[in-house]
Amino acid sequence: MSQQGLDRFRALFAEEAETRLGRLNQLLLEIEAADPPPDAIGEIFREVHTLKGAAAVVGFDDLSAYAHVLEEQLEELRAGRRVLDLAVVDSLLAAVDGLAQLISASLTNEDAAELARAIGPPLLDRVAAPAPRAAERVAVATHAPAAARPTPPEAAAPAARTTGPAEARAPSDVRATIQVSVERLDELVRLVGEAASANLRVGRLVHERLGPEATSATELVSLSRLLNELQERAMRTRMVPITTITDQLRRAVRDLARTLGKDVRWEVQGEDTELDRSVLQQLADSLLHVVRNAVDHGIESPEEREHAGKPSFGTVQLHAMQFGSEVTIAVIDDGRGIDVDRVRAKAARQGFDVDDLTDDEALQLVFRSGISTAPSVTDISGRGVGLDVVRASVEAARGRIEIHSERGVGTEMRLMVPTTLAVMRCLVVQADDQRFALPMHRVVVARDGAAATTHAEGRRIIWVGDEPVTVTALGDVLGHPGQAAPTGPIVVVNGTLQRHAFQVDSLVGQRDAVVKGLSGVLPRIDVVAGTSVEPDGSVLVVLDPPGLVERARNSTTKGSKAQMSDADRVRPHHILVVDDALTVRELQRSILERAGYTVSVAGDGVDALGRLAEGDVDLVLTDVEMPRMDGFALTRAIRERPPIANLPVLILTSLSSEEDRQKGLDAGADGYIIKSAFDERALLQAVDGALGAGR
């Protein structure tokens, strides 16, 4: 097979393996349920067998050998020579984890043989802790019977092997689904949209020619209806049911409950609820975190529960439901609830004014960086770098998160996200003869232009609840100054950190717009998020509220600069950005400078220490993977140097495993931002939070 051909098959294998691993995990969890499916072990056996064969075909021999040993063990179970108990399920789950690791290593060209040695063979006759670490497995494996050792790769040659019931593969291979790249689906959605707008133009033409008769042209009406339906169906092709991630959550609940010695039941409702695949992927980590939180901090021990008059087992429920173009996912536990007074006390210590907040409002403070009520820092959660990151990633999916809790009764975490990122709900406004769209999730409220406003510090102010918000004409911010001041409605939007109000000529209406980012041909325009094609073929510019607010604030502060006395001005905080990737470094620099920080940069840990020796740095924001000295080593080096030992350090990285996070925190980092959950707002909040704590 040519290298190119092999690459193509390996890509296919990656897709197939993902599906099979998902199914394996699901089957193993079903075995534990009250009424397991009749031939679950048989199906597990077949999945492993198929995976083994496929791995051999694409030349992943170590993976294939590992699967072969697992297959032999499964045969023992299937033949009834081994008893299936909890410990065996633990071992099987660990073995499936091993498969996953080997698959990922094989696909990324890592040394799979080395990894296979480190993991050890997938044996069932050892009592394994849930998901044991590699080191433990090696230790156990040395005591394993020699007969069960993995077949050496050269002896395996599994492509030619015919052991195992090959005939049994047929049913699971007949699938009603195929893999289609998202790119192709996007292209489909675009073309269908284009067909719909062409139809609209034809409709207009026919109307011009035929006059009122046109309305009776049933062909045209049915074509329009068909196209609308086609458009909606095309959109739905990107949607996947929430079940795609619930198995992973169920597994997390199970493993964690077993580790903590708690009895936890897991219930899912609305698992058919569909979400855009990219939204769901963005939420997966957040949901995992929330669910683990519920088991770790929410659910009490069986003794504690009985003492409180509750059933000894706790329940964690996941409810998903769709409301219009939004999906709500609630994670509900019947545990001890959150101590609001503790949240208040902690927030007050960090300088929040908590006196006027209701209990529910005070509870929402747990999403702020550094406020966590976990009494002790455990391996699982409670590091204060949790819920703020969860909120950031929910917001990155254009959603929002709420928490409700009652002491002794339980906690409900509610995530509300749009069903799709392909379609964005927008408020369309008119300003200076052009229409603009404002993403609805950033719009706080729209008020009548005649609403009461007042003046302060040379600016126009509108009250939004108890908060004074500055009003600017949208046209002025967009670079059409000097036009007659608009008298139309005032729209209040959320920026990155502050709110701002914009007065427009009129509100046009709401739209579900398919928004495309600006072309790479264009330079970044901070006030524009993207564009969308209207049904009539015209182009609608979608504004970026954070950029807009930033620009508006800069122009208003410039206008009132004279009023700012020198005494009010403090030295801006100085941040050292350490990253070996120029693009990332410059991106962070521009975000931080726009937020008013002074920024220096360094290419790796060694550079950074040199720069720190010059003094005056208030915070370090560092990447992990870097040449010469990585982010963990840099953090440790900072903590060891007395003059800078207390300097806040934030680690920004694409490594997202619990172990890496742990490593960062062990090194002495104050916070850990995962790049996948990274956006401007999350970064600024983390920086703000760390600076606040460091003062």
């Binding site: 284009e194 072309s519 325009i525 901070d526």
Partner: protein, 140 residues
């Protein structure tokens, strides 16, 4: 060498044929607020949003206010439309007369009594960005 001629005021520029996707007559751009001078806006080319770039402004030789045509070209960063002040035509370029002076151009060629300057669309776009990299905040 075959090329598409792009008239920009008095000047005549050329783009390699294989870079040309299509020509749009009478483009009506939607203005992007606070875009640089050389970005006239975006146009809808059969459902695809394409930036309309002012050819003369990018080359630093004036600007074309009312573009009669837009030449949609393929660039490394995606499709872009370059303005033309008169109808673009195909031509075979004669001998290479050496390096052209303007940023984003590669060579000069004689065509009858006219001197045609060949554009490198990728270089033109990159140079127009100046030092500011176009890095979007990556919403994952």
């Amino acid at each position: 060498m075959r090329a598409l001629l792009i008239p920009a005021g008095e000047d005549l520029y050329a783009v390699d044929t294989e870079r040309v996707r299509e020509v749009v007559a009478g483009p009506e751009p939607t203005v992007l607020p606070s875009a640089p001078r050389w970005v006239l806006g975006v146009i809808n080319v059969r459902g695809e949003i394409v930036p309309l770039l002012d050819t003369a402004a990018m080359l630093g030789v004036g600007n074309s206010d009312q573009p009669a045509f837009a030449v949609v070209v393929r660039t490394a960063a995606g499709p872009a439309a370059l303005t033309a002040t008169a109808i673009p035509e195909f031509a075979t370029l004669g001998t290479d007369l050496g390096v052209a002076a303007l940023p984003g151009t590669v060579s000069r060629h004689r065509l009858g009594q006219r001197l045609v300057v060949r554009i490198d669309v990728d270089a033109l776009v990159t140079l127009a960005h100046g030092e500011a990299p176009s890095v979007a905040v990556d919403a994952p």
